[in-house]
């Protein structure tokens, strides 16, 4: 946001706030129910299950590889309805190809002008074998008065073949390096915590998070630590969980922590690609829980597990997406789906054109 216009808007916002505490409906409670969804037509899941295919994917609000205004060389502000529909259709087809049992998503739009107001949660449930979903907004506002963004509702999601027992949005602390005005209209990150009722009446907790990438005040570290705290509580209660998402930091043992080729341009609105100082940020998670891509596997061939690139010309350049569990994963089943490969070894649609993140999958053992 341009600072020189902040005072005028601050005054206007203050006047509005005298009468209405949340005039643009951008705020959330510390803990509140997540929004639950159901596919219009159910696809019957298996009656028994020994292993689950779990996937996490930041789908970039169906923006595919369109260069948006906040990115290097970006000039687009919103998608046409045709683009938005084609992009989310391609995401749905990819999900159907992979056919996960549990899907954790980040950057899902449900009512945003930039994605033609398509409810991507409902779309994905109606166009994949997944039946139930929960959604927790990260960025929401009746009108975001910046760059003509307008109405926004983007968030984290969990989709499942089996019914959700409960779904909770747990607020994460906001950045402290922004003005009150910027903070009011900016992201309100959260942990989405759901429990899925598996066959045999077993509960599996599913948690997803998208941590703060841009803050200079240590907010990302707080988010990672609070995420682990939630996992620790479940562990202490003896509950089984799968947890993950876009952590916006690199795995311990990574060779490079800054100066990525795809982030060397200078005209982007945000700078989020220097991870120096975060070398041990995820170590507590790796040390405590099973990772879909264990550290040893990752460090043996880093490039194979990269899940992000800001520029397709350079291919996938780093790993930002993770899956952890206090259960057990099938050894060697963790994959970053960087091209068109599918869990069964066949080929499907390449992922590089679908989002700036690649899907991460793993098989999780859930036999009683």
């Amino acid at each position: 946001m341009h600072m020189r216009r902040v005072p005028l808007l601050s005054i206007l916002l203050a006047i509005a706030s005298l009468f209405c505490a949340d005039p643009f409906r951008t705020q959330f409670d510390a803990v509140e129910d997540a929004r639950q969804y159901k596919a219009r037509v159910q696809t019957p899941p298996g009656a028994t299950v020994d292993t689950l295919l779990v996937m996490t994917w930041n789908t970039r609000y169906g923006g595919a590889r369109i260069a948006f205004f906040y990115e290097c060389g970006g000039y687009r502000y919103s998608m046409t309805e045709k683009e938005a529909t084609a992009n989310i259709e391609a995401v749905a087809k990819k999900i159907t190809e992979i056919d996960p049992d549990i899907l954790l998503l980040q950057e899902v739009d449900i009512c945003s002008k930039r994605s033609a107001y398509i409810d991507q949660m409902q779309y994905l449930l109606d166009h994949t074998p997944l039946n139930y979903g929960a959604y927790a907004s990260i960025w929401k506002g009746d009108y975001i008065p910046s760059d003509g963004l307008g109405r926004i509702d983007m968030g984290n999601a969990v989709l499942s073949k089996w019914p959700l027992h409960e779904a909770t949005r747990i607020a994460l602390p906001a950045r402290t390096d922004q003005s009150a005005l910027q903070g009011y209209f900016f992201f309100h990150r959260n942990i989405l915590k759901c429990s899925v009722r598996l066959p045999g009446d077993r509960l599996l907790y599913c948690l997803t998070v998208h941590t703060e990438p841009w803050a200079s005040d240590g907010t990302k570290k707080k988010h990672v630590n609070l995420f682990k705290d939630e996992l620790d509580k479940l562990q202490a209660d003896g509950d089984l969980f799968i947890a993950g998402g876009d952590m916006n930091t690199l795995p311990p043992g990574s060779l490079e922590w800054s100066h990525f080729q795809d982030a060397e341009c200078t005209d982007g609105r945000f700078k989020a690609d220097d991870y120096a100082g975060e070398e041990e940020l995820l170590s507590p998670l790796y040390d405590t829980y099973a990772a879909a891509i264990p550290t040893g596997v990752y460090t043996a061939d880093e490039a194979r597990y990269h899940t992000f690139t800001g520029d397709t010309a350079f291919g996938w350049t780093r790993t930002l997406d993770y899956l952890f569990s206090n259960g057990a994963f099938v050894a060697g089943s963790g994959h970053a789906l960087q091209s068109g490969e599918l869990p069964d070894g066949s080929n499907g649609k390449p992922t590089l054109s679908l989002s700036d993140h690649a899907p991460l999958i793993v098989n999780m053992k859930v036999a009683p």
Binding site: H2, R5, L9, Y77, K113, Y143, G148, R151
Partner: protein, 259 residues
């Protein structure tokens, strides 16, 4: 624009005959009554109005004329003992406002890549006011907004309460709206006003909006009126149905007793 309004008032006052006219009243915005000749009423959220001769009133949103230049003429056609009929006709252009709102970064209501054409707009309404029970009156209003744009147009809608229906004609060329308003005395100097308005936007992705408001107004003689209340807005927008309640405040000043 403010100077033109004042000049029109002064000329009208000088040319006016001395016959008292019954179809006038102070603080009569939104009714078929006319501001008394020679009197100026200025509001923060309502137009600045000036009573002219021959049952006419001219008004403009003076504070916003740099962004929405325009004028409105109200002509009273009939003034009976209880019924009054008038029409309003305005010409304006939304182009300066829309271009002002089109910007990069904070304050950007419209994306900076939108091409905003030169718009010429005209609103035309018929108003009928019925005075009943002495201190109370009801007004019905119906009319249309027309807009025509010249030049490249890639303008996107502003999908927000109250704004969306008011600029819908920039996209579809026309829109309709109608409303009913009740006003009266609670106990002097406190007055009430209750409105219900329906906006219809054929050809748009969201085709209707309803606005209902209620407010109390404190009138300090003929010089000052302060009003406060709330407005309920509900409608169908490009993203679907939504509703919201907004606070309403206004401060109005009256200059000149008028005739």
């Amino acid at each position: 624009m403010k100077a033109a309004l004042l000049a029109a008032c002064m000329i009208s006052y000088a040319m006016a005959d001395s016959t008292a006219f019954t179809g006038v009243d102070v603080w009569s915005e939104g009714t078929a009554l006319i501001v008394p000749k020679g009197r100026i009423e200025a509001g923060l959220a309502t137009p600045w109005s000036c009573g002219l001769a021959h049952a006419r009133e001219i008004s403009s949103y003076v504070l916003f004329d740099a962004l929405v230049p325009g004028l409105r003429l109200k002509q009273q056609w009939y003034a009976g003992s209880t019924w009054f009929i008038a029409s309003t006709h305005s010409v304006y252009s939304l182009t300066p406002l829309l271009r002002f709102l089109r910007r990069e970064g904070t304050g950007g209501i419209i994306p900076p890549d939108n091409a905003v054409p030169v718009f010429a707009g005209s609103d035309n309404y018929l108003l009928a006011t019925w005075k009943y029970s002495g201190a109370h009156r009801a007004t019905i209003r119906m009319g249309a907004k027309l807009n025509y744009g010249i030049g490249d147009n890639t303008l996107e809608t502003i999908d927000y309460f109250m704004v969306y229906p008011r600029i819908a004609s920039c996209f579809s060329g026309y829109s309709f709206d109608a409303g009913i308003e009740l006003r009266g005395t609670v106990w002097k100097p406190v007055f009430y006003a209750a409105n219900s308005d329906l906006f219809l936007m054929p050809g748009m992705n969201g085709v209707w909006e309803v606005e209902q408001s209620g407010l109390l107004e404190w009138r300090f003689k003929r010089r000052l009126a302060v009003s406060a209340g709330a407005r309920y807005v509900a409608g169908e927008f490009p993203f679907g149905f939504d509703w919201m309640i907004f606070p309403m405040v206004d401060v109005k000043l009256g200059f000149g007793a008028g005739k």
